[in-house]
């Protein structure tokens, strides 16, 4: 670990080459005086990202139905890939031949990959978790695999992720204090092993973030944060949120955990969430988000609008000539009526999934843009009031 250093720390040896070992720099560019919300610029090996940012999920090396050009054109800045899925399909041997996921999927912007831990936890037929790692059976063909912290770094390095995530131990909600404690201890151990592996691989361009665990226990979240901050990562994520807990509890744990993280480093809330979740957590100081909601819900016919959501399959849209949202300038709203989208969706036409997804991703992208603008102008509270004035308050099925 002697060569590891964070871009936020002064270079320990001006003659050495470890200054960029983290593969990433982060600069806070704006703060909100009345909240912890802030804007920033995150620089990665594949370009810069303005935060707060939402990362669309491209599970298998594709944001379902959408081309990289379309993502770029709507202002998507960074994609999330799932290490577990990519490891199983197409496999690292395939992605490796292309020098990484960027080339394979034709996306030249930044990519963040999760560590695979959450998918093993939620999808695989897990057989055993030990200090060594996760031993699991593939959810596709039942084949048996072992995923160690070292493996996840190797895999994400092969993917050439701009931001790699440490392997963490996820726990169910609710979990007792003792289970949550054990999981966070293992997560810290694994984080150290990930750092070590990255150092051995000598991959400066691929940044590595740690994941704070600790369940819904503030004392454990604090302990996890302290242990991982000690290891001086260039960015920190909060895992284990949005796993079935009440909204209020998620916001509370999110807010208190975010408050523990260094101001100078990006803060990423994993797997979150609804538009309201994101607004709440941006207010608490979060910089990065990912979630399947805009893409998955699009494929289920649920479209995001300022008042919440509409379900395009609803019969009331059958002859509705208006766009999904009259103020939306996305490709879908510019060109198609609710009646057409209703028709496509009811008939399970491929174009339905595509047009719905374009709208929802545009909604999320514009939401983040509006928040960045509001923070830069120090008008975040006004933005938030306006956001909620059009919908139900959080915790009451509001989105």
């Amino acid at each position: 670990m002697g060569t590891r250093c964070s871009s936020d720390s002064p270079a320990p040896d001006p003659g050495g080459n470890c200054k960029n070992t983290s593969g990433l720099t982060f600069r806070v560019t704006g703060t909100s005086r009345k909240s912890r919300a802030r804007t920033g610029i995150l620089s990665t090996a594949h370009g810069t990202i303005r935060t707060p940012v939402f990362m669309p999920v491209g599970t298998l090396g594709t944001v379902k139905g959408i081309t990289p050009e379309e993502l770029r054109n709507m202002g998507v800045q960074i994609l999330l890939g799932n290490t577990y899925h990519l490891y199983l399909r197409p496999g690292i041997n395939v992605i490796g031949r292309f020098g990484g996921l960027h080339e394979f999927m034709n996306w030249d912007g930044p990519i963040l990959t999760d560590s695979g831990g959450f998918q093993v936890f939620s999808l695989a037929q897990m057989s055993k978790i030990t200090e060594e790692g996760y031993a699991f059976a593939s959810h596709i063909d039942g084949s048996r695999h072992l995923l160690t912290p070292e493996d996840t770094v190797d895999i994400q390095s092969c993917i050439d992720s701009d931001i790699m995530m440490c392997l963490d131990q996820c726990i169910a909600y609710p979990s007792d204090h003792d289970s949550a404690l054990k999981a966070l201890e293992l997560t810290t151990q694994w984080a150290e092993r990930c750092i070590k592996r990255k150092s051995i691989l000598n991959i400066e361009k691929n940044a590595l973030f740690a994941i704070i665990q600790g369940g819904m226990y503030p004392d454990l979240r604090k302990r996890s944060a302290e242990e991982l901050i000690q290891l001086d990562f260039p960015g920190y994520a909060i895992g284990g949120l949005s796993v079935g807990e009440p909204k209020d509890l998620m916001y509370e744990i999110g807010e208190s955990t975010l408050a523990l993280l260094p101001d100078k480093k990006p803060r990423y809330v994993m797997g979150v969430g609804t538009p309201a979740d994101i607004v709440e957590l941006v207010e608490s100081g979060a910089d990065m988000f990912d979630c399947v909601l805009p893409t998955r819900n699009a494929r289920n016919g649920q479209l995001f609008v300022n008042s919440g959501t509409i379900n395009i399959s609803n019969a009331r849209f059958k002859t509705d000539p208006r766009p999904v949202d009259e103020k939306c300038a996305c490709y879908t709203c510019t060109n198609y009526s609710r009646a057409y989208l209703h028709h496509l969706y009811r008939n399970r036409e491929l174009l339905a999934y595509r047009l719905n997804t374009l709208h929802n991703l545009d909604y999320y992208t514009r939401l983040m843009e509006k928040m960045r603008n509001a923070i830069e102008k120090d008008e975040f509270p006004a933005f938030k009031r306006d956001f909620y004035s059009k919908r139900q308050p959080p915790g009451k099925n509001g989105q």
Copy 2:
């Protein structure tokens, strides 16, 4: 029928307004001295089309997975819609509210619709065919409908088809001479009723083509052509081909029937076909084609290349970094490898269907373009030699 006239005929009454009653003009712009192949310009209410032309099938008001912009950008000139499908879903009341299919689906170029007869014949649970029309039960919900020649004109007028087709009676292959005779007689009767209905509706912008039937019997094809030519349509289609007959027979009946049709009017071979089928029938003088092959096969992983087809799901493509076709300039070949397409297809990713369809439609569009260029330069025989030099001859599974 007093106001009916063809744009190819001199206006019978210079003071009248029936000159454009056909909604269409056609001009032959190039001929091949060594074959019957020709180029032309077909002008419709929604724009002009250079022939020979291939019309992608947009069954339900969408070419599956592809936007109108993408079709335009690749050079697609005209789409085909299915009257039967559109009548059932979304229904004419919905399309009518948008003033037609163009506005509903956001395609401002020409649209041709079939009459619905073929789909009733092949998809619906047909209960009865009488002089009146087809009485059938919907393949979706079993609801009962009656489709008369008048209805098909009304429906296609509501769709605002640039080219409407007369209701015809389709027959199975093989059919005996007597059945084929009865079907062609009914088809002629129905064609007269369609003309009458169009005249009553006074829809000048919507051209109406007749469909030659007669099965695989040259004498009946001749009779059908003579009867329908007598009615002076602005264009003629050949129906009842590619219904299971041997290739050689299809080419033979296609060629002999095309030879019966007026030189000054567009000739359309319905539901055909493979690239080789199209080359053969262009050589015999056909101007227009439609077929589900490029789009449907794309969704089955079969991609058209100069040597025939490849199946992208084949394991040999797993790590292949080359595009589908190294000489192809389509969006898919410009940006993606066979390995990526293989990965997408094997995982049933939405983007697979889209990228495969873009490639196949580009292949067909370029094929037509090459033929038009060859005919204009009077080099069609050289084009055809070159086409076959890369693949198996027709009739031997060649495409």
